[in-house]
């Protein structure tokens, strides 16, 4: 893709009428069902686990939104999905329980699974009865996903034995299943070769989940240990040895969503409310910069959404929006922290201060999940023909 092509791919697009109309439905639902939470809890959004809320959303038909109706899915198009996600994230809804299943695991099973797997898992996902997590990262691997050491070996009487461990798994302690990328033949030196994906039942014997407490005192991440875990043949998802290609497709789903611009939005809105209550106009320039950045990002995000809706696979464009989007999300955090430090003598309400502190402490993760800054810039550079 030449440079000119990449920039020209960001064509301005508008949300179609049905998606605009859908927004009112989502808002009506949230007005009724969204639990009353202080901003410092809503700021957890992505990481906020509330199985009950996820079940209510499922009952409304909005979990498994990309999946066909025959499996209980909503078959929403990309534009309506954009609206749903935008509203959930702007509200700070606790979506973590079903989030991965909805966005990654469900589509993956639908795309690469066999009919039995689809029939079993997809309806459960759409009812919020099956929560999923992702097993990609391993200790000491960082961004180098291909250096997988967790290993599935064929059992003598069929099935597989799984040994190893995965880390940075979101809320594994609350999930029913993990889709794990593991080595089914060869050694870590074989890199992308010989990898496969398995659906692991986290209640199986030999699985141990160790929640990892983070610097904000939460335990949203975890480490998962596999000690000779027995997997049926049916646990293999897709082709044996095709794990790398499948994961690449999965990450492309992951990187293209609008949530890559809204992670700090609860903090920003909470701060705006405070400024208005104080009648404080001194920060108008910063407010305007953040709103302006958001406007451009939202335009880019809808443009990527239009490509998805057209059946394309805008991997480079999505990486660009995510890189810019996480920069924006982190800019919100650090800029509002600075703004709150303008008046050491001001009495600022605790909810705003705690929200600001939380977002500032957790926001380094925004540029980790779904690919670090270095990885994404590498994707963009490749898209520009530089590597």
């Amino acid at each position: 893709m030449s440079m000119a092509t990449l920039l020209d791919h960001f064509e301005p697009a508008a949300l179609p009428a049905h998606a605009r109309a859908f927004r009112a439905e989502v808002r009506a639902f949230l007005a009724q069902r969204m639990p009353a939470l202080p901003a410092e809890r809503r700021a957890r959004s992505w990481l906020g686990f509330d199985a009950d809320f996820s079940r209510q959303l499922a009952a409304r038909g909005w979990v498994g939104v990309t999946l066909p109706r025959q499996y209980g899915g909503a078959e929403l198009d990309a534009f309506s999905r954009f609206v749903l996600v935008e509203e959930l994230l702007c509200a700070g809804a606790p979506v973590s329980a079903h989030w991965i299943a909805d966005r990654q695991s469900g589509p993956l099973i639908h795309k690469f699974g066999n009919e039995a797997q689809r029939s079993f898992y997809l309806p459960r996902i759409c009812r919020s009865e099956a929560f999923f997590c992702i097993g990609m990262s391993e200790p000491n691997a960082g961004s180098d996903l291909a250096s997988v050491g967790t290993r599935a070996t064929r059992g003598e009487s069929g099935g597989w034995r799984l040994n190893g461990r995965k880390i940075w798994t979101t809320n594994a302690q609350h999930c029913h299943y993990m889709i794990a990328l593991v080595r089914s033949c060869g050694t870590p030196a074989d890199r992308q070769q010989g990898l496969s994906q398995f659906i692991v039942d986290l209640s199986a014997p030999g699985v141990t989940v160790r929640p990892i407490t983070d610097l904000a005192g939460d335990a949203h991440f975890s480490e998962v240990f596999f000690d000779d875990v027995h997997l049926e043949d049916a646990a293999l998802i897709g082709q044996e040895g095709s794990g790398w290609a499948q994961v690449t497709a999965e990450l492309a789903f992951e990187r293209s969503g609008p949530e890559r611009i809204y992670s700090s939005i609860v903090l920003l809105d909470r701060w705006l409310a405070w400024l208005r209550a104080q009648g404080d106009r001194r920060h108008a320039e910063l407010v305007g910069r953040l709103a302006t950045h958001l406007a451009a990002l939202r335009g880019l995000s809808i443009s990527v959404t239009a490509r998805l809706a057209a059946g394309e696979s805008p991997v480079v464009e999505a990486a660009l929006v995510k890189e810019l989007g996480t920069t924006f999300e982190q800019d919100i955090a650090t800029s509002i922290e600075a703004a709150l430090g303008t008046d050491p003598g001001a009495a600022i309400d605790g909810e705003l201060l705690r929200t600001c502190a939380y977002v500032n402490q957790i926001c380094p993760t925004y540029s980790l999940r779904g690919g670090t800054r270095e990885i994404l810039r590498g994707v963009i550079a490749r898209g520009l023909g530089l590597r």
């Binding site: 960001f10 702007c90 705006l272 910069r289 709103a291």
Partner: protein
């Protein structure tokens, strides 16, 4: 269709050599006459006046092309002028420009500070006291306020002569129409210059070797080009949002956002472009300077991001109970 034809026109009539010649003092008349004769300046005029009644979305590619090709004349102002003059007016001859502001001084004179193309312009569209005026620039004192080929100038009209040289255009247009057009136009020009700066830099990164490999293979250069691409993409998107279909005059807040986003990108993109190019980039003979000089000049023209962010922020703070996402969405879905 107009876009491709206009591109072809500019590639023929406004090459980098042409730009340099005019900047160095050669007559701009041949280029201006070619532009006038081409009909492109009339695109926003009514069909009965020989125009195409283009809307903002239709005219945006032409305005950005002016920035991309570093056109050293106020063709953008001429195009936009057609959307501002009453349809019964005959468009005046000569180079027009827009005054970012017009201040009545204590001695009754009128000062228009830092007018783009102020040294060349023959007509100046300016707004004060809620009225849009067309002023004869040739009756003004002009004081250059740029360096090295920048034609911007402070213009001042004596109190005594002002009435003879100012023609009342309209009360009808909104209080911020000219202000919004000035911002939107320069955002569109910036989008073109940003794109050109990025293209030159990417090409240089791919072609230039150092330490035995193309510099584009170095991670630090790749990262700079990736960041540049991000900011150019964001700036272009902000501009597109200020030039919607079915409208012929930009709205203030989208124009404010466009100018702010492009002005912010201008500083960053100019800086990365020169850092990647090294010394060659700052020479007169290499084309990058044609674009990056304009990035700096246009960042300032009609207000930098410091100004426009404040306008946007004040508007958002005024709207009680509006979330930032709703504020942005309502502008984009307006």
């Amino acid at each position: 269709m107009f876009t491709d034809a206009f591109e072809t026109f500019l590639r023929g009539h406004c090459t980098p050599a042409d730009v340099r010649a005019i900047e160095a003092g050669a007559s701009h008349q041949p280029l201006w006459e070619a532009l006038s004769g081409s009909g492109f300046l009339e695109l926003m005029a009514a069909e009965e006046a020989g125009g195409a009644w283009l809307d903002l979305a239709g005219v945006l590619p032409m305005l950005s092309a002016l920035g991309y090709h570093s056109v050293p004349l106020p063709a953008g102002q001429a195009i936009a002028l057609r959307s501002l003059l009453p349809s019964e007016w005959e468009v005046p001859d000569g180079l027009p420009t827009f005054a970012p502001a017009a201040l009545v001084q204590t001695d009754g004179s009128l000062l228009a500070p830092r007018v783009p193309f102020g040294l060349l312009a023959e007509q100046v569209l300016a707004q004060w006291d809620g009225v849009l005026w067309l002023l004869d620039a040739q009756a003004a004192q002009r004081r250059s306020c740029g360096i090295a080929h920048d034609a911007s100038a402070d213009l001042q009209w004596d109190a005594a002569h002002l009435p003879r040289h100012a023609r009342r255009v309209a009360d009808c247009c909104g209080a911020s129409t000219l202000v919004a057009w000035g911002a939107a136009l320069h955002a569109a020009l910036l989008a073109g210059a940003l794109t050109r700066s990025f293209e030159l830099t990417l090409q240089y990164g791919n072609e230039r070797s150092q330490f035995g490999r193309s510099i584009g293979k170095f991670q630090a250069i790749q990262h700079q080009l990736a960041v540049m691409a991000e900011h150019v993409a964001a700036a272009r998107m902000a501009v597109a949002c200020a030039f919607p279909a079915h409208q012929r005059v930009p709205a203030l807040l989208p124009a404010a956002m466009a100018k702010a986003r492009c002005s912010e990108a201008a500083g960053l993109v100019a800086s990365i472009a020169h850092a990647v190019h090294g010394a060659i980039g700052i020479t007169e003979e290499y084309d990058l300077q044609l674009s990056t000089r304009r990035l700096h000049a246009w960042r300032l023209a009609h207000g930098a991001e410091t100004h426009w962010h404040g306008v946007v922020g004040a508007a958002l703070l005024e709207q009680a109970d509006t979330t930032v996402a709703d504020f942005v969405r309502e502008l984009q879905e307006a």
